[in-house]
């Protein structure tokens, strides 16, 4: 669904390439995770996808078409993005907010049709926030706000969903709930691309992990292939061991404390 090929992204006035020849696919029906240390180029890939960063070379294609050839509205109908940062300037009612996800579908008069209304209702339900519809966005908890943002992206009814660090600032229960939601969305047929630095969570939920470091793909594949202590130590520059999640046997990373006075 989303295909990134030899992608290079560089910013003016910044040394080196933020993304330096990255290739991977995010398939329909799968949860693909883009992981890696801070500054490894994860968010730049998302920015290139929505044309917020210029593509120096290589390509990002969504449903078979290069994003640079798609009119902005068509791109938004193909891929829905939940950006990392979003500081809404003023509160807005949750249902109105989710309805903004229909913007790319609105006609000349920007009037919402029955289809739009239904898409909003579905999205609220899918994200489990139907009950919050009448609230204002500034009256939501951190976990509710993230779900509402996901609902807005779902209202776009795009076949691909991209989320940039959707669980930052969330506690364990809310974090797990978001991951379960994303996993079920992937099973329902969406191509879900998740940008996250939470390797352990990603290892338990993702079908494929693409691990980036310094703008390049360090390793990619199923969680069991990617989660290897020697590789991760080299990438993060920190001693680690790999254990197993006692419930499902997924690999889990444990960063070690540095031995003192050695």
């Amino acid at each position: 669904m989303i295909s990134v090929a030899d992608l290079v992204v560089s910013y003016p006035r910044a040394p080196g390439n933020a993304v330096d020849g990255v290739s991977f696919d995010a398939a329909a029906g799968k949860l693909t995770a883009l992981a890696g240390p801070n500054g490894s180029g994860k968010s730049s890939i998302v920015r290139a996808m929505i044309r917020r960063a210029d593509i120096t070379s290589g390509s990002v294609t969504v449903a078979g078409t290069d994003v640079r050839l798609l009119p902005p509205g068509e791109l938004a109908r193909r891929v829905a993005v939940v950006p990392q940062r979003e500081d809404a300037a003023f509160p807005i009612q949750v249902r109105e907010y989710v309805a903004l996800g229909r913007y790319p579908h609105l006609g000349l008069w920007r009037a919402a049709s029955k289809v739009d209304e239904d898409a909003v209702t579905d999205a609220l339900e899918q994200a489990g926030v139907s009950k919050l519809g009448d609230r204002d966005t500034d009256a939501l908890s951190g976990g509710e706000w993230q779900r509402v943002r996901i609902a807005r992206a779902l209202a776009q009814k795009a076949p691909a969903l991209v989320l940039d660090e959707p669980t930052t600032f969330l506690d364990v229960a809310h974090e797990m709930a978001i991951f379960e939601l994303l996993s079920s969305l992937a099973r329902s047929g969406l191509a879900v691309l998740l940008v996250s630095h939470q390797l352990n969570l990603v290892a338990r939920f993702a079908d494929t992990i693409v691990l980036l470091t310094e703008g390049k793909v360090a390793t990619s594949g199923a969680p069991a292939e990617v989660m290897r202590a020697d590789r991760l130590e080299a990438i993060y520059g920190w001693p680690v061991v790999i254990t197993r999640d006692p419930a499902i046997g997924a690999p889990a990373l444990v960063p070690l404390r540095r031995p003192r006075n050695l």
Binding site: I50, P72, A76, R77, V81, E86, D87, L100, Y103
Partner: protein, 328 residues
């Protein structure tokens, strides 16, 4: 507060009531019955003249100015994502004042000349602000808030120009220019009212048409981009329309401060959120507020007429203080 459908009736009713009082009350008061009779063209000729030729155009002009400033402020605060954004911060007021001062200094103090010069001055300032923000961006993607900074820079430059110009001007020029800058609905004439009504209908209609975009812009550039909106282009468009709207009001009635800043907050307090409703609500509240302020300006210290801009600021400050108290 949740906005209810019947609040619209309340807003419209308040506007009509305040407008009626504005028409009836003044140096020579006309009874309510007299007002309605005069509007229909019956009753005594003096009342008809007062109502039709003096009060009605003045009240309508005040309403239009308030509506324009309220709508402009609501659109700017949303698209620039800044609760302190207001049309006068964008260089609109400074540019208009420069235009007016130049005309006064050249000795043309006719009404039409000042109006045209103020409009040209504010449009020039807005174009300059857009150019300054582009220079700041150096071709790469910018935060839309740069526009606000650019407006402040242009405004400061305009103020400096005015002070230099006034320092070497005749006392009469200074007085005329200062008086104009205080803002007033006193020179209301029907051609001016019609001209302003047309500008507001066009620019206000455009803002309401693009209101959905303002909603999306208010979420930030990244989110806007993900929804298929070019935030820079669309933000500049809203900026330009809102500024032209404000420029038209400034040309018609001079500088009437605080309305563009405070009125959108009043509309939000009523529970208006989405910009299609917010822009409309701010227009109604702005219209009511300016009519009321103008009524106060011409009656409180009668026969002296107080500057309208000072009255709107006096009404706006307490509201802002209350708002501040709630926020902290």
């Amino acid at each position: 507060m949740r906005f209810r459908g019947w609040y619209w009736l309340l807003l419209i009713a308040s506007l009509l009531i305040v407008a009626t009082i504005g028409i009836a009350y003044g140096a020579a008061s006309v009874s309510l019955g007299g007002v309605f009779a005069a509007l229909h063209g019956s009753g005594d000729p003096t009342s008809i003249a007062i109502v039709r030729d003096l009060r009605l155009p003045r009240v309508v002009l005040g309403a239009l100015v308030g509506a324009g400033l309220g709508a402009s402020g609501a659109a700017l605060q949303g698209s620039l994502r800044n609760p302190l954004a207001e049309p006068y911060l964008l260089g609109v007021s400074g540019g208009a004042a420069v235009g007016a001062v130049i005309v006064f200094a050249l000795g043309f103090s006719s009404d039409g000349a000042v109006t045209v010069a103020a409009f040209v001055g504010s449009v020039a300032a807005v174009i300059l602000a857009l150019a300054v923000s582009r220079v700041g961006a150096r071709g790469s993607r910018v935060d839309l808030r740069t526009l606000l900074v650019a407006g402040v820079i242009v405004g400061a430059f305009a103020n400096a120009t005015i002070m230099v110009a006034l320092a070497s001007a005749e006392p009469n020029t200074v007085r005329g220019a200062l008086f104009w800058m205080m803002g007033s609905a006193a020179d209301a004439t029907w051609p001016r009212v019609i001209w302003l009504a047309l500008s507001i209908a066009i620019a206000g209609g455009a803002l309401i048409y693009w209101a959905r975009e303002i909603d999306v812009l208010a979420l930030g550039e990244e989110t806007a981009a993900s929804l298929g909106i070019d935030a820079e282009r669309s933000g500049r468009r809203i900026f330009l329309i809102a500024a032209l709207l404000a420029a038209a009001t400034v040309a018609a009635a001079g500088l009437i401060g605080f309305v563009g800043l405070v009125v959108p907050h009043m509309a939000r307090r009523l529970g208006l959120r989405a910009h299609r409703q917010l822009v409309l609500g701010a227009a109604l509240i702005g219209a009511t507020l300016v009519i009321a302020a103008d009524l106060a300006a011409r009656t409180v210290a009668a026969p002296t007429e107080l500057p309208l801009g000072a009255i709107t600021a006096l009404l706006g400050v307490p509201f802002f203080l209350v708002q501040l108290r709630r926020a902290t």
